[in-house]
């Protein structure tokens, strides 16, 4: 029965392969800002705009989010938690990182380097038949449910490379989750903005890792010079945590 179902998926995929996918796929989910260390879940909307070979994924907090300054938390999260632009034609992926001054920086990453293990497990998401696949990527385990009938190997965030669009994805600890909720035909976004960044030449993930390390080293150095806790029995420490594993 399962084999027949998979065969059906593949056949359907083959028949609809000639169509170019265009549209906006809306997701709903969450992100744990303390990823694994404690519970700090916030609800998020995900939006994946697909225009043929190009796509843009953004993930924004539900409701209004303003970078705020609280007593013990300096909240400098950008408007979109993850902004990822993918160009399948040139095999490129670009992602945004906002620095301490909330200036956006763009870095390149490999398009779909993850090795998926596909299974025969299946379920319906929004009336669309989906199959399950798992992978490990940048230090975390991920599960994806993809729709072989939507013949584009894209998905939320940096995930993709499966024979169908990922409609649901989450990490092993359920710190991050995106679930498909609806779709519209709109597919307009300013691809030229990202294309110009790529044309100018942007640095890759090692450069991003270096950038983050440099930023943290600056913070750490200023902490070592912090005289408020010298000579008393106080000890201040700074620890860094990154969603993606940085060597």
């Amino acid at each position: 029965m399962k084999k027949l179902l998979i065969l059906g998926f593949i056949l359907q995929s083959f028949l609809s392969n000639a169509q170019e996918i265009k549209g906006t796929f809306f997701y709903q989910g969450k992100f744990n800002g303390s990823f694994g260390r404690s519970e700090n879940h916030r609800p998020y909307w995900g939006k994946l705009i697909i225009d043929g070979n190009r796509s843009l994924f953004t993930m924004k907090e539900e409701g209004q989010h303003h970078a705020s300054l609280q007593d013990n938390t300096i909240d400098l999260r950008s408007d979109s938690l993850f902004t990822v632009y993918k160009d399948h034609e040139s095999n490129s992926l670009l992602f945004e990182f906002t620095d301490l001054n909330q200036r956006p920086h763009y870095f390149a990453d490999t398009l779909f380097p993850m090795e998926w293990i596909t299974t025969e497990e299946h379920k319906m998401i929004g009336g669309i038949p989906c199959l399950k696949a798992v992978t490990r990527f940048k230090g975390r385990g991920y599960t994806a449910w993809y729709a072989p009938t939507i013949t584009i190997n894209d998905g939320p965030w940096k995930l993709g490379g499966l024979p169908g669009l990922i409609l649901e994805a989450y990490d092993d600890e359920d710190n991050w989750r995106m679930e498909f909720i609806s779709r519209t035909d709109e597919h307009d976004f300013d691809a030229s903005y990202y294309e110009s960044k790529i044309e100018k030449g942007i640095e890759g993930f090692p450069a991003f890792a270096g950038f983050v390390k440099k930023l943290f080293a600056r913070l750490e150095a200023s902490f070592n010079n912090n005289s408020d806790c010298v000579g008393c029995q106080n000890k201040s420490m700074i620890k860094f945590h990154s969603w993606e594993h940085i060597d």
């Binding site: 800002g33 303390s34 990823f35 260390r37 007593d71 013990n72 938390t73 300096i74 909240d75 400098l76 999260r77 950008s78 938690l81 993850f82 990182f97 906002t98 301490l100 001054n101 983050v212 943290f216 600056r218 913070l219 200023s222 902490f223 912090n226 408020d228 806790c229 008393c232 029995q233 106080n234 000890k235 201040s236 420490m237 700074i238 620890k239 860094f240 945590h241 990154s242 969603w243 993606e244």
Partner: protein
């Protein structure tokens, strides 16, 4: 070996004849007093040391997928004092972070 076994048996018999058979009861009240005394002595000894209460307070710099966690651990003679010092330490630490940003 045999001697040890005989002595053990004799002790067990004596115990069962007195306590287990209900002829005499162990002095639990005295034992309670002893425990209470030990507790008080421990607290007293700890209070004599310079630092016996440790408080850790945490703050964070949230950049979304990247986070810097700032922590301040303070030890003081009393927990109240340690908390006051930890608050002050964390405030200074967070101000250091703010100074870098702005």
């Amino acid at each position: 070996m045999k001697k040890v076994s005989v002595v053990t048996m004799m002790l067990m018999m004596t115990f069962s004849m007195t306590y287990a058979a209900g002829l005499a009861k162990p002095e639990f009240n005295n034992m309670k007093k002893q425990i209470s005394y030990v507790k008080q002595a421990t607290v007293h000894t700890e209070a004599k040391t310079d630092a016996d209460c440790s408080v850790t307070l945490k703050g964070k710099l949230d950049l979304g997928p990247i986070e810097a966690e700032v922590s301040c651990t303070t030890t003081a003679a009393t927990c109240n004092e340690a908390t006051i010092q930890a608050v002050s330490c964390l405030r200074a630490a967070m101000n250091t972070v703010r100074a870098i940003i702005y």
